[in-house]
């Protein structure tokens, strides 16, 4: 992957959770890049390590059990892992914001919406005067589609979708350079999800922020992401632009193929779905070699041990020994040299 114009670069990150007796290998030597102003979709199922990755960026891993074993997280050129807690405090909410999955529990029930947005504004924009605070809050609410007259209401007076908008308003209050969204629409109804995604696209354009969108829903990815990275058992097994990943004529990692086949697509009429056999391995007991090999229909002896290299061509990369680099070019879509 190329580094030009990249806002966030994760290099060889490895994270473990250690409790007495057990070591959970949550993230294993991953590297990814988010270019300026672009959205990267981090796709994977439960236990793949997506949330751990997000928490590592903000250094919010659980204090005693979460450990970063190695790697760098470069944000605007500086390694976040080297920063002190005080320095991170200035970055969180200001330059990097996070939106969590469940809007019901993300807001403090005893503070008004106004106070919760004000809190983050006061923390990071010290030059903002009292009088202009209300105006700024009103403007933010209107940006996310909430009438500013509702700013003094409490979270319980809003519906799920509106709560999530408030959460987004808090996240964008200080115009962050990077927005991390952890399954922001999973808990919402499909029509509300469509509204919120539309709003997020508009905001992203207005603010010019980059976004890390964590999701398991490939439909959402197609809707809002520019680049995609697919995670499995703590590793990135495939990455590329949106065209790379969704191109059916291109070669893909067997897990990616399995994922697409498991989703019932409303345009396709098939009697049976084709699920992937078996389960994701326990992060405390990962298999040797390729982590996916026990479930892979194309597994060979070479897959069962050793380090699996990532094969790449341009923007598209697959961590699999099945294909040669030239086979990664799709037929339908033109590849630009704007590398990741």
């Amino acid at each position: 992957m190329n580094n030009q114009g990249s806002l966030l670069e994760i290099k060889n990150l490895t994270v473990q959770y250690v409790t007495d007796g057990e070591c959970v290998h949550a993230v294993n030597n991953i590297s990814l890049t988010i270019p300026q102003g672009k959205t990267l979709g981090l796709v994977g199922e439960t236990g793949a390590g997506k949330t751990t990755t997000a928490l590592s960026i903000l250094k919010l891993l659980p204090k005693f059990t979460g450990r970063v074993i190695g790697g760098k997280i470069l944000f605007g050129g500086e390694d976040l892992l080297e920063k002190s807690e005080e320095q991170m405090g200035k970055i969180r909410g200001g330059r990097i914001s996070m939106i969590f999955q469940d809007p019901m529990t993300s807001l403090n029930p005893v503070l008004t919406v106004h106070n919760q947005i004000a809190e983050v504004l006061k923390l990071h924009s010290t030059h903002l005067k009292r009088e202009s605070l209300d105006g700024e809050i009103g403007r933010l609410l209107e940006m996310v589609g909430i009438p500013s007259s509702r700013m003094f209401e409490y979270p319980h007076q809003f519906s799920g979708g509106m709560k999530q908008r408030v959460v987004i308003a808090i996240a964008i209050a200080c115009s962050p350079e990077l927005l991390i969204a952890d399954e922001p629409t999973t808990a919402l109804d499909v029509t509300i999800q469509a509204q919120v995604l539309k709003m997020m696209r508009k905001l992203r354009q207005e603010l010019g922020s980059s976004m890390l969108m964590i999701t398991h829903d490939l439909g959402v990815v197609a809707n809002i992401c520019d680049y995609v990275a697919i995670m499995y058992a703590g590793e990135i097994v495939e990455y590329g632009t949106l065209e790379d990943i969704f191109d059916p004529d291109c070669k893909h990692h067997p897990y990616t193929v399995g994922l697409f086949r498991s989703i019932p697509n409303i345009h396709v009429n098939s009697r049976r779905l084709q699920p992937i056999d078996g389960l994701m391995p326990e992060p405390t007991a990962l298999p040797d070699g390729c982590k996916f090999h026990p479930r892979c229909p194309h597994c060979t002896d070479a897959c069962r041990s050793g380090e699996i290299q990532t094969v790449s061509y341009g923007t598209h990369g697959i961590k699999c020994i099945l294909y040669r680099s030239e086979e990664l070019v799709g037929n339908t879509f033109h590849r630009t040299e704007d590398a990741l």
């Binding site: 029509t191 469509a194 398991h216 439909g219 197609a222 969704f246 779905l273």
Partner: protein
């Protein structure tokens, strides 16, 4: 035409709240033929879960009739109701709270057999339990496993085996795969469809996931704020959605493919109105872009607009 297995006539379920009557299920009527699946879709607050529970009499109905094999089960005696439990079962959404954490897989599945005195000897119970486990894809070694030692997909299989234990004819599936990962969802859905074929089961499949519902249902009913606003065969609903809400719902689904998501399309605006003391007329009118004043004045009924395709829209009714 043979008698449908289940028929609901003007079923209503209201809840009393301090602010008034909550119309959770409002005048619903439909039929399901034996061996078929009726999918019920809708978003939060539409009443689909309440509908499922009312049909199973886990919640007392406010009024209306539920006919199972031709007889109104709401008038059953206690003894008849107990017998009926064996024929109508339920599978829950949350694999974590639907199993007793202190019971092994074996104990959970065999308990209904013991309580209903289905078999005389322990050996028979044991054999039947193992059979049920195999049916859902759990090998014998899972007998002494506890729920917390299994993943969501396996727990859901235990829930399904438990529901099958008394040989029911009808199963209400309340979002059975929504809490599962995508690849596990596919496994469990396939399992449910296989079992349906093998055992001739009838499903009422409740979900908010439109892709899933199309896959598994023969007919689909769309609910909004307690009312059934459209009812059609699965293919037909997706090809020719009639009600504006159904159209909005279908448009909102993000497609996992390139070039198929119209990013600038109109999305549904506004919020759900309250199900407490709802105003007369069409409940979707406040959010409907085609709404006229007459919509809020006309009571909606499901009317046939094409063979087997019913829709409750005042505009369509009037034309």
């Amino acid at each position: 035409m043979s008698q449908p297995l289940l028929e609901c006539r003007s079923l209503k379920k209201y809840f009393d709240t301090p602010r008034g009557k909550l119309h959770a299920v409002d005048d619903i009527s439909f039929t399901i033929e034996a061996g078929k699946t009726l999918g019920v879709v809708g978003e939060s607050g539409c009443g689909k879960s309440t509908l499922g529970r009312t049909i199973l009499r886990l919640l007392p109905a406010t009024s209306g009739e539920i006919l199972f094999e031709g007889k109104n089960i709401l008038t059953y005696t206690k003894k008849e109701s107990l017998e009926l439990r064996r024929k109508m079962q339920i599978v829950f959404q949350d694999p974590y709270s639907s199993l007793d954490p202190r019971k092994t897989v074996f104990q959970t599945i065999s308990e209904p057999l013991q309580v209903h005195h289905v078999y005389q000897s322990r050996a028979e119970i044991q054999q039947r339990t193992l059979e049920l486990m195999l049916t859902v894809g759990l090998t014998e070694r899972y007998s002494s496993i506890y729920p917390h030692e299994m993943d969501g997909g396996r727990r859901q299989r235990v829930g399904i085996a438990r529901a099958l234990s008394l040989n029911p004819k009808f199963i209400v599936c309340d979002e059975p795969v929504s809490a599962l990962d995508v690849s596990i969802q596919a496994q469990v859905l396939n399992l449910m469809m296989d079992i349906q074929e093998q055992m001739g089961l009838t499903y009422l499949f409740i979900t908010h996931n439109l892709s899933v519902v199309k896959h598994i249902s023969d007919e689909i009913a769309v609910m909004y704020l307690g009312q059934m606003i459209e009812l059609a065969p699965a293919e037909e609903l997706f090809l020719h959605p009639a009600h504006p809400y159904t159209k909005a719902l279908l448009q909102a689904i993000p497609i996992p493919a390139l070039g198929q998501n119209n990013l600038e399309k109109e999305s549904l605006s506004g919020e759900l109105t309250s199900p407490i003391n709802p105003k007369p007329g069409c409940r979707f009118a406040p959010r409907c872009r085609y709404a006229t004043e007459r919509c809020s004045a006309t009571e909606c009924h499901l009317t046939e607009i094409a063979p087997n395709h019913l829709c409750a829209c005042p505009l369509i009714q009037m034309s």
